[in-house]
């Protein structure tokens, strides 16, 4: 457990020192969300209708900005080697990296979502579900993204490949995440969507670390 915590702690220190990784996705979201009323017209009804989908897609795109960084820097400076060359399982290191990445980039997205909701006239009743759905959904982004990052870490320009790999896998997350917010905006219960979303989180929690660990090992060959 100690190596796990040390890795999380080190990554958090790194993230808090660089900061750009934390605020840039939020700035990106804010910029893009401004474009929607400009392009669609400022009608509150139209905006409210698309708000759940837009916020969720923005969360997806904003995470894509940072996903490649999960292992890229570690590969470039050689830290990845130190995760492999221990008797501690590599999947634990992956888990630590994912946790740190989520705390640094996913959690801010969850906390920032209400601001986007206000800008897009999201009905006030669905803020809770919006944040809850993102709270369950964004860790899945980090998990699935860790596979993509592990696969592309040795490439100079792996960003596009990572997008191609990760996007189809995240389609179900988007469906149920945005779906939950839509349901709550319509006044229905969103529990079914949230439950399925949680199921996916549990599944990625149990399977992804092994896939990412395998990807790292193949990539180092």
């Amino acid at each position: 457990m100690k190596p796990f915590l040390s890795l999380v702690k080190r990554d958090l220190t790194l993230g808090l020192r660089k900061k750009s990784q934390i605020y840039q996705p939020l700035v990106f979201q804010l910029l893009v969300v401004t474009m929607f009323p400009l392009g669609l017209g400022s009608g509150a009804k139209t905006l409210a209708l698309i708000a759940p989908a837009v916020i969720w897609i923005l969360a997806l795109l904003a995470s894509l900005l940072t996903l490649d960084q999960i292992f890229k820097n570690d590969y470039d400076d050689g830290s990845v080697e130190s995760y492999v060359l221990t008797s501690y399982p590599l999947s634990m290191a992956v888990m630590a990296k994912v946790l740190a990445h989520w705390l640094l980039t996913g959690l801010p997205l969850v906390l920032f979502a209400p601001v986007l909701g206000v800008l897009l006239h999201l009905p006030s009743s669905s803020y809770g579900v919006l944040m809850l759905s993102l709270l369950i959904g964004t860790p899945i982004f980090s998990f699935i993204g860790s596979i993509g990052s592990a696969l592309t870490m040795s490439l100079k320009h792996g960003g596009l490949l990572l997008t191609v790999l990760v996007m189809p896998l995240l389609a179900p997350v988007l469906i149920f995440g945005a779906g939950a917010v839509v349901e709550s905006a319509l006044g229905n219960s969103a529990s079914q969507h949230l439950l399925l979303l949680s199921g996916m989180l549990v599944l990625s929690f149990t399977l992804v670390p092994f896939a990412s660990a395998a990807a790292i090992k193949i990539n180092l060959e």
Binding site: K2, P3, S6, L7, K9, R10, T13, L14, R17, K18, D76, D77, G78, S79, E81, S82, Y83, V84, L85, T86, S87, Y88, A93, L220, E221
Partner: protein, 209 residues
């Protein structure tokens, strides 16, 4: 009694076999220098021995068990420092040294880390970010790990590169000490006569015909 036994080991890059298969055995207090022309695959071989890559041709045994089966034991007993030092430029020297070892499950107190930095000549650089160090200082920071670990097998890729005369002398002394303490050393180095004196085995990699 041999502790490490390699039989007909070679490495591949793409579909090309890099060098003629090599065999060697190492016992306590013995050391191996791997040399050969540029691009012959010294680093690849070293990384394969360390366990970063799988061994594609031949096999290596550690304490009579195939490395593929005794990975955990091997990782607990061996320590590798490669070309990439593993230092984070946004962390200071103290943090770098401690976090690197802690991630590998080796506990290091702040006091111990400070002493280690003193020994490698980085006293006064404790709170300097690794990004602002010179190449030689970065190397010293990485090598400082060696003073804090108890692993019996050290695997070092070009440890003398970037070091100044004083640094080389210090490292040589440390390596000698390790060998005298019944440690095992596997190393690549460009012609360095002073390291040759202490080395017990040398392996010259030759081009695959």
């Amino acid at each position: 009694m041999p502790i490490i036994k390699a039989t007909d080991v070679s490495c591949q890059r793409g579909q090309f076999t890099l060098f003629e298969p090599v065999s060697f055995t190492l016992a306590e207090g013995q050391s191996l220098l791997i040399s050969g022309a540029n691009g012959i695959g010294k680093t690849t071989l070293l990384e394969s021995i360390a366990g970063l890559r799988s061994i594609q041709l031949g096999n290596i045994e550690y304490k009579s068990i195939d490395l593929l089966k005794s990975k955990d034991q091997w990782f607990d007993d061996s320590f590798f420092i490669g070309h990439k030092t593993g230092n984070k430029k946004e962390l200071n020297c103290l943090e770098n040294l401690r976090s690197f070892l802690q991630i590998q499950g080796i506990d290091v107190s702040e006091k111990q880390a400070e002493d280690a930095l003193d020994k490698v000549g980085l006293a006064g650089y404790e709170y300097q970010f690794a990004g602002s160090l010179s190449a030689g200082q970065k190397k010293r920071l990485a090598l400082a790990r060696l003073t804090l670990i108890k692993h019996t097998v050290w695997i070092l890729d070009e440890p003398f590169v970037n070091l100044d005369v004083a640094g080389c002398d210090w490292l040589l002394k440390l390596l000698n000490q390790h060998i005298d303490n019944k440690g095992i050393l596997i190393i690549t180095a460009h012609d360095n006569p002073s390291i040759r004196k202490k080395i017990t085995h040398e392996l010259v990699l030759e081009m695959q015909r």
